[in-house]
């Protein structure tokens, strides 16, 4: 349980980090909070030739709110995101996602960019990014490019980040005015990765009908995924009991066979998707101020 040998260096800017990544030609990894990468090194599941430490790249540590977007630097600690008044005010779903990551001791070191780049399918940030259509900025040798969440998450632990690129910032659209939200998950212990979870927002129109529904399911496939069928079921419908049941059944059917492992069978995970979708929708509707016949289950 000791890391294999590697060369180590501290980058002080994004440009420096990219130049070093280029120099190692795919053999180097950047080191952010280390809360996923160092365990992998200790278990020797990762053996990079070099680690490029981003912890002194000040330009990547910021939370910037402007208009309808909050832009957050990749090296912003999860603890700073959790404490940001802008995030609490503009994006309660993102705040809740942050609080569900591990424990304060993990969030003290773990970064937003590290979590998204690691791309664990049960990551709350990935779920929130997929639900809200966050945008990702990547910096590489030939400049920067921007990709959306659907493009960014490729599969289990794999993103669109090229070996010589650094994730620099993530732009989070604010929740629509009047929207209700929910993020719920089932984990064996609080702070563990979720067996299954749902991140959802519901925006009612003036008559209490659903103007927009966003539902992301996580922990049940190679990446978090949108339950588009369930979203269609909801859009235009009156936000009350029956339609939530219909949407839950749809969500359950929309996923491929979920993974089975020592923690839970695929069948149980599928069951959870239905139960959690129904609960999340009721909770989101209640937060949006729409009275539901059955309340929050």
């Amino acid at each position: 349980m000791k890391p294999p040998p590697f060369e180590y260096g501290v980058a002080e800017s994004v440009g420096e980090a990219v130049a070093l990544l280029q120099r190692y030609d795919g053999e180097a990894r950047v080191l952010a909070g280390g809360q996923s990468l160092v365990p992998l090194l200790n278990m020797r599941l990762a053996r990079p030739a070099a680690l490029i430490d981003l912890n002194r790249v000040r330009e990547l540590d910021f939370v910037r709110a402007s208009g309808n977007t909050i832009t957050i630097g990749a090296m912003t600690r999860q603890r700073s995101v959790e404490r940001s008044p802008d995030v609490q005010r503009q994006n309660a779903l993102l705040h809740a996602a942050t609080q569900n990551i591990g424990h304060p001791q993990i969030r003290n070191r773990g970064t937003m960019g590290g979590s998204l780049a690691h791309a664990h399918p049960a990551s709350e940030y990935q779920a929130a990014a997929v639900a809200l259509d966050a945008r990702f900025t990547l910096a590489g040798p030939s400049g920067t490019r921007s990709v959306d969440a659907a493009e960014f998450f490729v599969t289990y632990l794999t993103t669109a980040i090229e070996p010589d690129e650094v994730l620099t910032e993530i732009a989070w659209p604010a929740l629509s005015p009047g929207a209700g939200w929910s993020l719920i998950e089932v984990a064996r212990r609080h702070g563990d990765f979720a067996l299954a979870g749902v991140a959802a927002t519901l925006t009612p129109d003036a008559r209490g009908r659903c103007a927009e529904a966003r539902i992301a399911l996580f922990g049940v496939g190679p990446t978090a995924l949108r339950a588009r069928g369930a979203e269609r079921t909801l859009t235009g419908a009156a936000l009350e009991g029956g339609v939530f049941d219909e949407a839950a059944v749809s969500a359950e059917r929309e996923i491929d066979e979920p993974p089975s492992d020592v923690h839970a069978s695929g069948e149980y995970r599928r069951h959870l998707v239905g139960v959690l979708t129904r609960r999340a929708l009721r909770e989101a509707a209640a937060r949006a101020g729409v009275a539901t016949s059955t309340g929050v289950a």
Partner: protein, 171 residues
């Protein structure tokens, strides 16, 4: 770049107020640095992959896992370990509280709990039970049972508040 890429580097850290400098492998974790290089074995090491919290120390005042932090990353930082809690043979109030409220049995997990709780009570002198549980959830104990640890934290918070009250009253 502050220094070129290298597999060995010089690291300067302050541990419990004492400055140390060593040339080490970049792959050395902070917990192995503390225990192996500095001989400070108060910080325990359990799972070595970030799960159990036994290795928790304060890095510039923040509770972090020292088994998943490279020692070279602590360059220039101030670290507090469990050895830094007691002063002149006098236990820290948090340590006293764990003793009085039976917050430990074998003691393997205790240094980690003490450091995590130190950060909590430093920033939140009167935490809610949920806030305490959020922090305790990050550390595993295999023998005491968490209720006694929870009671210890509540007692510790009360002791520290009383002490601070006295100090404020004196001043």
């Amino acid at each position: 770049m502050s220094e070129a890429m290298a597999a060995r580097r010089t690291v300067s850290v302050t541990v419990n107020g004492v400055a140390h400098e060593r040339v080490i492998d970049a792959r050395l974790t902070l917990v192995d640095f503390l225990r192996g290089e500095l001989g400070m074995t108060g910080t325990h090491v359990g799972c070595e992959h970030g799960l159990c919290g036994a290795c928790t120390v304060l890095l510039d005042g923040q509770a972090v896992r020292s088994c998943i932090l490279l020692a070279v990353q602590a360059d220039g930082a101030a670290i507090t370990t469990v050895e830094g809690l007691a002063t002149g043979g006098q236990l820290h109030p948090i340590q006293e509280a764990f003793m009085e409220a039976h917050g430990l049995q074998c003691g393997f997990c205790t240094p980690g709990f003490l450091m995590a709780v130190t950060e909590l009570l430093e920033g939140t002198p009167d935490p809610t039970e949920d806030e305490i549980r959020d922090v305790l959830g990050g550390n595993l104990c295999r023998c005491t049972g968490y209720e006694a640890i929870l009671a210890s934290v509540k007692l510790a918070a009360a002791k520290l508040r009383a002490l601070r009250g006295t100090v404020a009253g004196d001043g």
